[in-house]
Symmetry: C3
Subunit: 310 residues, 3 copies
């Protein structure tokens, strides 16, 4: 999570650069060019969604600054990525006249939540990851059942687990599934968006790019071998969490040389896929999406273990 | 959470005063007069409930003393408020021959739980709030489904979220709704009870009284604007959590001058209302009441953020 | 959790002894003879299950060694008991061609999870207990609803709480129920298995044996008095969690002489029984077994309280 090679420009637009780095931190990267490429991928898919992503990341960064967050953390974008994802998710999953406002409110709450989770996990030295985004989004989506001003999109329907019947049939287009693996982190589908996102990772660090590709493959194939729903694999929904896990466990939080670290990265990606099934099942009665919880769970297990065992 | 102006009497009835302060700590206040006014508000509504409140607070305080809790914590009433609320809630929500005993048992468990949560949150310096009360009450209510000796009142019925239909129509009597906002913290409704409770807060600290009023207003109006159920607003159920959040975020845990603190207090009250909807929705399939979880969640987010960012 | 009187043999088969101690740590005991007796009890009931138990405990111990766990922790078996229980539970509750592989995978994950939970709870000094086993097992069982390669056994069926009707009638054979109380910790039933397990505890420490007996009695009778289902009492399902609580709260984590410790042990066993009802109720819609969660919850409350109040 280095600040990247931005020494020159940094002084001129510090807030804008911190916001861009906030966007790039979804990939656990602190690089404003990566952030710009991510924002481009979102904006070409939906201009409104791109605007929401930018505003939400900016709210988070602003909160970090005015609220008194550690300057280095703010500059690295650590206050931006959770609000950004929260704003995007709420904007997409909520309907109603004030859903736009709820999304921005959620982004602000997510910023405060980020600081709170940082504090909570500080004594154990464990990373915040995307927990604030996930919990804020779930809670605000659930609250919609009790207020008329906003409601969850009809696409998300609460179901009984006892009625659940697994049907895995469906065609898989492996190439688009692969590219959508990167896209789905930001709720995107499409070849160009996927290419821009992978480019964003490679621009920051080619090694991270390779890990992202490997994580994506492991995610898709594990789901296929275990007999996961082909429609979900096809949509990239078994890849995106594994990409993040590969970046986090494989590169960012790997300090020192441990002979087990390559194996543990692979196992953590497989576990992420299994956890997608777990989280989806738990959320079935509530009609909520898994978001990046499988990544956050799997990564916490492996990072926590490394912290304990070094 | 000062000990209040009780220097003189303190030596004569230390246990009784600590118990009264325990009752007042529900408002995050350590003042035996406030505790007495709260107890009066409960007792005029229901003598049995008043007795249960007193006994539960006393059990908690006794546990703190005999168990070796920090003397200052015990004296301030920090071991009393969670047991008191637990005893009251279980007494009201459980039926059956031994429900009285389960309530007192729950109060004792809640006292131990309080110490345990204190310990768990100590490294991060985060406050215990009412988590022990909420979790103990929920778990003991849920256990009633598996034992014949006690059962949950028929008023609380598990429902499917997929069958849930929001109907907000209903009349709101704003004045009684306002007074019930204070009452509902203790499961009370009624003008006199409400007046005694607000008096109790003002007696301890007029500034806290103003914050309680403001929090109550923000709670009611946010719920109204977002289209919450009028029957719930009318019953004070959208005010009581916001009152506690306003006291906690606005006064008690505000150290130092932060230019954002007034805004963050207001946002925390709005968030509390949104969280009432979230918690109610999550609990729907289990037929449980939200209790003060929305307050505890919202407050933890904002207090944690301040601890991180000072 | 002493290492026991194994000075002589320790040097010859260190890995095997650590694995056996890992098995014995389910009883919070670090004694390879106890581990051997437990393994015997499992193996005479089902050879396959015994093999799975041994392999899972070995995987955990291996992970602790290669991964760089503290040598004393590894030697005491602290990396073995969670994987062992996870492997056994998944092997029993999952069906399908790869369920055997999922069980061993779960054991490995549980080992990493153990280290992670250790780290997470380290600042507060709270014990890991069986949380990693419980959470890993639940999550992997839930994931089976989304993959064709493995599924949960038909014996576990998701139910609606709103359809739940308590029927407690049934015969109780107190003696076999008593012996099954020890057996059910390892999913066993049968007189010989029960006798071997109690023998295993007494061999390590006769005082722990007495506490196990007392905990078992308190568990069964509390469930009976509260009106729990006789079929569950008869199967030993109200005893096994209370045995573990009695060992943990009554013996292992009791440091120093506290006049309340005997009472708190008894209360913690009663609370464990109540929590069995709570956890069963929460898990009803997901069709999951309570495993040792009631023990882990109740024990955490009382151990945490003691840490806070000493």
């Amino acid at each position: 999570m280095g600040i990247g090679k931005t020494k020159g420009t940094r002084k001129r637009f510090p807030f804008l650069l911190a916001t861009m780095r906030g966007i790039s931190q979804v990939f656990l990267i602190g690089n404003w060019v990566t952030g710009l490429l991510i924002l481009a991928a979102i904006t070409i898919t939906s201009f409104k969604l791109g605007l929401m992503a930018f505003l939400s990341a900016a709210i988070g960064t602003l909160f970090g600054r005015l609220g008194g967050g550690h300057p280095v953390s703010v500059e690295r974008g650590l206050y931006g990525y959770n609000p950004m994802l929260t704003g995007m998710a709420l904007f997409l999953f909520l309907e109603g006249p004030v859903s736009w406002g709820i999304a921005l409110f959620g982004a602000a709450v997510s910023a405060a939540f980020t600081a709170s989770v940082m504090r909570f996990l500080q004594p154990a030295g464990m990373p915040t990851l995307t927990f604030p985004y996930i919990v804020t989004t779930w809670l605000l989506m659930l609250s919609s059942y009790k207020f008329e001003a906003f409601k969850v999109t009809d696409k998300l329907v609460p179901q009984h687990l006892s009625d659940w019947k697994l049907e895995i049939a469906g065609e898989i287009h492996w190439l688009s599934a692969f590219l959508d693996g990167a896209g789905q982190i930001f709720f995107l589908q499409g070849i160009l968006a996927g290419l821009l996102l992978f480019l964003g990772i490679f621009v920051a660090d080619w090694k991270m790019g390779l890990y992202a590709i490997a994580g994506n493959f492991i995610g898709m194939f594990t789901a296929y071998i275990l007999g996961g729903e082909h429609t979900l694999i096809d949509a990239g929904l078994y890849g995106y969490n594994a990409i993040l896990t590969a970046l986090a466990v494989g590169v960012v939080f790997r300090d020192g040389a441990n002979r087990l670290s390559l194996y543990s990265t692979m196992i953590s990606c497989v576990l992420t896929v299994v956890f997608i099934g777990s989280v989806d099942t738990i959320l079935l009665p509530f009609g909520l999406p898994a978001l990046t919880m499988p990544f956050a769970l799997s990564t916490s297990i492996f990072i926590g273990a490394r912290l304990m065992m070094r």
